[in-house]
Amino acid sequence: MLIDVGFVAANTSRTRAYLAALERHDLLPTWTLLLDDESPAAMPGQAGSAVVRSSSPDHRAQCWSEVDFDPNAPLEPWIQRLGLDYSVAGSRNINAAAVVDLIARSEPSVFIYSGYGGALLRNDVLETGKKFLHVHGGYLPDYKGSTTNYYSLLSEGMLGASALFLTAEIDSGPVLARRRFPPPAERTEIDHIYDASARAHVLVDTLSAYRERGEWRFELADNRGGTTYYIIHPVLKHLAILGNASVS
């Protein structure tokens, strides 16, 4: 178990990728806050109906070591099975006053952050004094913003993931670790499987290094510059999925 590291966890496929990776590598958090409520409404980042998993050669590749997880496994029973200390927020909104209060009064000084798609942390959360460790789905600083792995797949034939501490400026906080990944065998599963596994891989790298060193070190302290991308248009997303270009 990690000392002084908590987990803010939305009910998404990415949270499940993280939890599977944390369990696999014994990097479990001291306290988890589930960002969920009773509403049945679907949220961005949820896999919806079960994602069809194909048996893939990627399962044997080291870079895809975190690809084996169930994107729809029920979260609370899983957390209970692991014996983790946790609370359910009663809200899906990271910026809700009650959620901010729970975080502010909690013990950990660093939180692994796995939120709902499109949700940005506002000043109230950032000013609790906690650090929020987020893994961006893209190689920083070149690919900031949204759905960046599809853009990098089209431009450079690769995916990326970068761990950083969140600041007020999107994707511009200091980078702890970052990594490039080759195109996966099943590009139709990027949204809920491969993007999440790439992030989980870099999360494991970051937390393992922290546990070994006892401190956070930065691969790229000055993360300014780069290009900000917005949600990719479906036509371009299809070209990235259908394409076969890869880094030579």
Partner: protein, 241 residues
């Protein structure tokens, strides 16, 4: 398979494009078919008069994308052949005095400056980098709200005024087309696809009322040329001709 992104009036029902479903090659072909059908219908009702700026844009795009590079795709060649081609127009480039602005900015004036800048764009010029700065800011506003407002307040975060001036979207599409033709940056192409989805989702009368149909023809021609080229680079078989 139907192409859904222009099926409903996107001024009334903006699309967020989040976690878009996968539809395979059939989806991409449906996009091609939908674009051609809607554009040909629109072109049939567009007058023959073309502004000097549009004629200049046509010339610039031909020069940048080159007949040898297959611009325009053959199914749009007839629609483009009715547009004038001329290098004569030189417009004024007047951006707000500061970035970000300390006074309200009229969007039509900003788009004029952007269009005129990209008609004579050079990456080394001061005007060129200013244009990119302002384009990035306007693109951010559009991407966040899927709308263009008549004015933007100091700081260029909050907009005010009408958001249904079709002429603004037509001009924005042409600006994005020129920016992409110059710089080949995918965020411009992605935004161009969204703006063209919106424009083609509108009733034909909405275009006739404000003119500018030729700007949209040029913007679509650049978009489809770019998509075909990208598909070729990715090894994706795509029939656009």
């Amino acid at each position: 398979m139907n192409y859904p992104y222009s099926a409903n009036n996107r001024l009334h029902e903006p699309h967020a494009y989040m976690y878009s479903p996968y539809g395979g090659e059939a989806f991409v072909q449906s996009y091609v078919a939908d674009r051609i059908e809607r554009l040909l219908r629109l072109s049939a009702s567009t007058g023959t008069d073309c502004t000097a700026a549009e004629a200049r844009a046509h010339a610039v795009l031909h020069r940048l994308l080159g007949v040898e590079d297959g611009f325009p795709i053959s199914r749009l060649a007839v629609s483009l052949s009715t547009l004038d081609v001329s290098e004569e127009f030189v417009g004024q480039v007047v951006f707000p005095a500061t970035f970000p602005n300390v006074e309200p900015v009229k969007t039509v004036a900003l788009l004029d400056a952007l269009l005129n800048s990209f008609l004579d764009y050079s990456p080394e010029s001061g005007d060129g980098s200013t244009a990119l700065q302002w384009l990035e800011r306007l693109l951010q506003r559009f991407e966040v709200s899927k709308k263009l407002r008549a004015r933007y307040l100091p700081g260029f975060r909050k907009g005010e005024g009408a958001d249904d001036d079709v002429g603004l979207y037509q001009q924005f599409a042409l600006v994005l087309a020129l920016a992409y033709a110059h710089r080949q940056e995918l965020q411009y192409l992605s935004a161009l696809l969204k703006v063209n989805d919106l424009l083609l989702s509108l009733p034909i009368a909405a275009h006739a009322e404000c003119g500018g149909g030729h700007a949209l023809v040029l913007a679509i021609a650049v978009e489809m040329h770019a998509v075909r080229r990208l598909a070729q680079q990715q090894g994706v078989s795509l029939n656009v001709d």
